[in-house]
Protein backbone atom coordinates (compact mmCIF):
# COMPACT_ATOMS: atom_id res chain seq x y z
CA UNK A 1 0.00 0.00 0.00
CA UNK A 2 2.76 2.45 0.78
CA UNK A 3 4.31 1.88 -2.64
CA UNK A 4 1.08 2.93 -4.31
CA UNK A 5 0.96 6.11 -2.24
CA UNK A 6 4.57 7.00 -3.10
CA UNK A 7 3.86 6.43 -6.78
CA UNK A 8 0.85 8.75 -6.62
CA UNK A 9 2.94 11.40 -4.83
CA UNK A 10 5.35 11.28 -7.78
CA UNK A 11 2.37 11.77 -10.11
CA UNK A 12 1.23 14.78 -8.08
CA UNK A 13 4.68 16.40 -8.26
CA UNK A 14 4.51 16.20 -12.05
CA UNK A 15 0.94 17.53 -12.01
CA UNK A 16 1.99 20.52 -9.91
CA UNK A 17 4.76 21.26 -12.39
CA UNK A 18 2.35 21.20 -15.36
CA UNK A 19 -0.19 23.43 -13.63
CA UNK A 20 2.03 26.09 -12.11
CA UNK A 21 5.12 26.67 -14.20
CA UNK A 22 5.25 29.14 -17.04
CA UNK A 23 8.26 27.94 -18.97
CA UNK A 24 7.38 25.50 -21.75
CA UNK A 25 10.39 23.31 -21.06
CA UNK A 26 9.36 22.98 -17.43
CA UNK A 27 5.93 21.84 -18.60
CA UNK A 28 7.57 19.19 -20.79
CA UNK A 29 9.60 18.03 -17.77
CA UNK A 30 6.40 17.78 -15.74
CA UNK A 31 4.76 15.69 -18.45
CA UNK A 32 7.76 13.37 -18.43
CA UNK A 33 7.48 12.87 -14.67
CA UNK A 34 3.74 12.11 -14.99
CA UNK A 35 4.49 9.50 -17.63
CA UNK A 36 7.15 7.80 -15.45
CA UNK A 37 4.71 7.63 -12.53
CA UNK A 38 1.95 6.05 -14.63
CA UNK A 39 4.23 3.40 -16.10
CA UNK A 40 5.51 2.54 -12.65
CA UNK A 41 1.95 2.22 -11.31
CA UNK A 42 1.03 -0.33 -13.96
CA UNK A 43 3.97 -2.55 -13.10
CA UNK A 44 3.36 -2.19 -9.36
CA UNK A 45 -0.18 -3.57 -9.75
CA UNK A 46 1.10 -6.65 -11.54
CA UNK A 47 3.90 -7.65 -9.18
CA UNK A 48 3.89 -10.92 -7.29
CA UNK A 49 5.98 -11.26 -4.13
CA UNK A 50 8.98 -13.55 -4.66
CA UNK A 51 7.94 -14.05 -8.25
CA UNK A 52 10.07 -14.78 -11.29
CA UNK A 53 10.65 -12.77 -14.43
CA UNK A 54 8.37 -13.94 -17.28
CA UNK A 55 11.11 -15.74 -19.25
CA UNK A 56 11.08 -19.51 -19.46
CA UNK A 57 14.26 -21.32 -18.54
CA UNK A 58 15.26 -24.85 -19.28
CA UNK A 59 15.13 -26.40 -15.85
CA UNK A 60 12.49 -24.47 -13.95
CA UNK A 61 8.79 -25.08 -13.83
CA UNK A 62 6.22 -22.54 -14.94
CA UNK A 63 5.04 -21.38 -11.58
CA UNK A 64 5.08 -18.18 -9.63
CA UNK A 65 5.64 -15.70 -12.43
CA UNK A 66 4.85 -12.01 -12.24
CA UNK A 67 2.06 -10.74 -14.44
CA UNK A 68 3.35 -10.34 -18.01
CA UNK A 69 0.35 -8.49 -19.43
CA UNK A 70 1.01 -5.03 -17.90
CA UNK A 71 4.64 -5.35 -18.99
CA UNK A 72 3.56 -5.78 -22.59
CA UNK A 73 1.36 -2.69 -22.39
CA UNK A 74 4.00 -0.52 -20.73
CA UNK A 75 6.63 -1.53 -23.29
CA UNK A 76 4.79 0.25 -26.07
CA UNK A 77 3.86 3.11 -23.77
CA UNK A 78 7.52 3.96 -23.08
CA UNK A 79 8.36 4.33 -26.78
CA UNK A 80 5.19 6.33 -27.46
CA UNK A 81 6.15 8.71 -24.63
CA UNK A 82 9.48 9.36 -26.31
CA UNK A 83 7.83 10.18 -29.64
CA UNK A 84 5.36 12.59 -28.01
CA UNK A 85 8.16 14.34 -26.09
CA UNK A 86 10.12 14.82 -29.32
CA UNK A 87 7.04 16.32 -31.00
CA UNK A 88 6.39 18.78 -28.16
CA UNK A 89 10.04 19.87 -28.11
CA UNK A 90 9.94 20.47 -31.88
CA UNK A 91 6.87 22.68 -31.49
CA UNK A 92 8.52 24.53 -28.58
CA UNK A 93 11.61 25.26 -30.69
CA UNK A 94 9.44 26.71 -33.45
CA UNK A 95 7.57 28.82 -30.89
CA UNK A 96 10.88 30.22 -29.69
CA UNK A 97 11.88 31.11 -33.24
CA UNK A 98 8.65 32.97 -33.77
CA UNK A 99 8.09 34.76 -30.46
CA UNK A 100 11.56 34.94 -28.94
CA UNK A 101 10.51 33.57 -25.56
CA UNK A 102 9.42 30.38 -23.83
CA UNK A 103 7.00 32.16 -21.49
CA UNK A 104 3.48 30.93 -22.10
CA UNK A 105 1.76 34.02 -20.77
CA UNK A 106 3.28 36.04 -23.61
CA UNK A 107 2.21 33.67 -26.37
CA UNK A 108 -1.35 34.71 -26.82
CA UNK A 109 -1.96 35.55 -30.41
CA UNK A 110 -3.29 32.85 -32.68
CA UNK A 111 -2.67 33.88 -36.23
CA UNK A 112 -4.66 32.23 -38.93
Amino acid sequence: MSEYILCLVLFCIGLYCVLRKRNIIKIVIGLGIIEYAINLFFILVGYRTHGRAPILAKDQAITNMVDPLPQALVLTSIVIGLAVTALIVAIAIRIYDKYGTFDISKIRRLRG
Binding site: A53, I55, L56, L75, T76, I78, V79, V89
Partner: protein
Amino acid sequence: MRNKEPGMTLIVKTITRLTVGLILLYGIYIVLHGHISPGGGFAGGVIIALSFIHLMLAFGREVALKKLSEARASLFESLGAIMFLSIAILGFLGGCFFFNFFLHKGKPFELFSAGIIALCNIAISLKVGAGLFAIFAVLILFKKLGKDE
Protein backbone atom coordinates in the same frame (compact mmCIF):
# COMPACT_ATOMS: atom_id res chain seq x y z
CA MET B 1 42.03 26.44 -27.81
CA ARG B 2 39.11 26.00 -30.16
CA ASN B 3 39.33 23.64 -33.09
CA LYS B 4 37.85 24.84 -36.33
CA GLU B 5 36.77 21.49 -37.68
CA PRO B 6 33.28 20.20 -36.88
CA GLY B 7 32.64 17.64 -34.17
CA MET B 8 34.37 17.09 -30.90
CA THR B 9 37.95 16.71 -29.72
CA LEU B 10 40.44 14.07 -30.78
CA ILE B 11 39.92 11.80 -27.79
CA VAL B 12 36.20 11.54 -28.45
CA LYS B 13 36.77 10.85 -32.15
CA THR B 14 39.22 8.04 -31.45
CA ILE B 15 36.96 6.32 -28.95
CA THR B 16 34.01 6.69 -31.31
CA ARG B 17 35.89 4.99 -34.12
CA LEU B 18 36.51 2.02 -31.85
CA THR B 19 33.08 1.62 -30.32
CA VAL B 20 30.44 2.63 -32.81
CA GLY B 21 30.58 -0.64 -34.71
CA LEU B 22 30.25 -2.62 -31.48
CA ILE B 23 27.18 -0.65 -30.46
CA LEU B 24 25.53 -1.38 -33.81
CA LEU B 25 26.36 -5.06 -33.47
CA TYR B 26 24.94 -5.17 -29.94
CA GLY B 27 21.71 -3.60 -31.14
CA ILE B 28 21.35 -6.20 -33.90
CA TYR B 29 22.00 -8.96 -31.34
CA ILE B 30 19.22 -7.73 -29.09
CA VAL B 31 16.80 -7.58 -32.03
CA LEU B 32 17.57 -11.06 -33.32
CA HIS B 33 17.35 -12.74 -29.93
CA GLY B 34 14.11 -11.02 -29.07
CA HIS B 35 12.15 -14.22 -28.64
CA ILE B 36 14.67 -15.96 -26.39
CA SER B 37 16.04 -13.34 -24.03
CA PRO B 38 14.68 -9.98 -22.93
CA GLY B 39 14.86 -7.14 -25.39
CA GLY B 40 12.91 -7.28 -28.58
CA GLY B 41 12.36 -4.94 -31.46
CA PHE B 42 11.85 -1.66 -29.59
CA ALA B 43 14.96 -1.68 -27.43
CA GLY B 44 17.13 -2.96 -30.26
CA GLY B 45 15.82 -0.33 -32.66
CA VAL B 46 16.59 2.46 -30.22
CA ILE B 47 20.14 1.11 -29.70
CA ILE B 48 20.73 1.02 -33.47
CA ALA B 49 19.53 4.64 -33.72
CA LEU B 50 21.82 5.57 -30.82
CA SER B 51 24.86 4.22 -32.66
CA PHE B 52 24.22 6.54 -35.61
CA ILE B 53 23.50 9.44 -33.28
CA HIS B 54 26.81 8.78 -31.56
CA LEU B 55 28.52 9.05 -34.94
CA MET B 56 26.76 12.32 -35.67
CA LEU B 57 27.56 13.88 -32.31
CA ALA B 58 31.25 13.03 -32.44
CA PHE B 59 32.08 13.78 -36.05
CA GLY B 60 29.67 16.49 -37.07
CA ARG B 61 26.66 16.50 -39.30
CA GLU B 62 28.22 15.97 -42.74
CA VAL B 63 30.13 12.79 -42.01
CA ALA B 64 27.15 11.07 -40.44
CA LEU B 65 24.76 12.11 -43.18
CA LYS B 66 27.08 10.58 -45.74
CA LYS B 67 26.61 7.23 -44.01
CA LEU B 68 22.86 7.48 -43.77
CA SER B 69 21.16 10.38 -45.45
CA GLU B 70 17.76 11.68 -44.40
CA ALA B 71 16.00 10.42 -47.51
CA ARG B 72 17.34 6.95 -46.99
CA ALA B 73 16.29 6.97 -43.33
CA SER B 74 12.74 7.79 -44.40
CA LEU B 75 12.91 4.98 -46.91
CA PHE B 76 13.98 2.47 -44.27
CA GLU B 77 11.25 3.58 -41.93
CA SER B 78 8.52 3.15 -44.52
CA LEU B 79 10.04 -0.19 -45.50
CA GLY B 80 9.80 -1.41 -41.92
CA ALA B 81 6.17 -0.36 -41.64
CA ILE B 82 5.22 -2.03 -44.93
CA MET B 83 7.01 -5.23 -43.93
CA PHE B 84 5.14 -5.37 -40.63
CA LEU B 85 1.79 -4.79 -42.31
CA SER B 86 2.41 -7.36 -45.02
CA ILE B 87 3.33 -10.03 -42.46
CA ALA B 88 0.07 -9.27 -40.70
CA ILE B 89 -2.04 -9.36 -43.85
CA LEU B 90 -0.42 -12.59 -45.04
CA GLY B 91 -2.08 -14.19 -42.05
CA PHE B 92 -5.37 -13.83 -43.86
CA LEU B 93 -4.41 -16.75 -46.06
CA GLY B 94 -4.23 -18.93 -42.99
CA GLY B 95 -7.30 -17.89 -41.09
CA CYS B 96 -7.25 -14.50 -39.45
CA PHE B 97 -5.14 -11.38 -38.95
CA PHE B 98 -1.60 -12.07 -37.65
CA PHE B 99 -2.04 -15.79 -37.96
CA ASN B 100 1.19 -17.75 -38.01
CA PHE B 101 0.76 -20.42 -40.63
CA PHE B 102 3.71 -20.39 -42.94
CA LEU B 103 6.69 -20.73 -40.62
CA HIS B 104 6.61 -23.70 -38.33
CA LYS B 105 7.42 -23.17 -34.76
CA GLY B 106 10.58 -25.14 -34.29
CA LYS B 107 12.19 -26.18 -31.04
CA PRO B 108 12.29 -23.69 -28.20
CA PHE B 109 15.52 -21.95 -27.14
CA GLU B 110 16.83 -21.89 -30.70
CA LEU B 111 17.32 -18.96 -33.01
CA PHE B 112 15.06 -20.26 -35.78
CA SER B 113 11.94 -20.78 -33.77
CA ALA B 114 8.75 -18.93 -32.93
CA GLY B 115 7.35 -18.35 -36.37
CA ILE B 116 6.65 -14.78 -37.34
CA ILE B 117 7.90 -13.21 -34.10
CA ALA B 118 11.48 -12.92 -35.36
CA LEU B 119 10.43 -11.29 -38.63
CA CYS B 120 8.17 -8.86 -36.83
CA ASN B 121 11.03 -7.92 -34.51
CA ILE B 122 13.25 -7.09 -37.49
CA ALA B 123 10.54 -4.96 -39.12
CA ILE B 124 9.86 -3.04 -35.92
CA SER B 125 13.53 -2.40 -35.26
CA LEU B 126 13.96 -0.96 -38.76
CA LYS B 127 11.01 1.34 -38.25
CA VAL B 128 11.91 2.57 -34.78
CA GLY B 129 15.62 3.00 -35.50
CA ALA B 130 15.26 4.90 -38.75
CA GLY B 131 12.41 7.03 -37.42
CA LEU B 132 14.30 8.13 -34.32
CA PHE B 133 17.40 8.90 -36.35
CA ALA B 134 15.33 11.06 -38.72
CA ILE B 135 13.86 12.95 -35.74
CA PHE B 136 17.32 13.56 -34.34
CA ALA B 137 18.87 14.70 -37.63
CA VAL B 138 16.14 17.29 -38.16
CA LEU B 139 15.75 18.47 -34.59
CA ILE B 140 19.22 18.72 -33.13
CA LEU B 141 21.70 19.90 -35.65
CA PHE B 142 19.91 22.09 -38.07
CA LYS B 143 21.09 25.49 -39.16
CA LYS B 144 19.20 28.43 -37.83
CA LEU B 145 15.94 29.06 -39.58
CA GLY B 146 15.63 32.22 -41.54
CA LYS B 147 12.66 34.50 -41.10
CA ASP B 148 10.46 32.74 -43.58
CA GLU B 149 6.72 32.67 -43.24
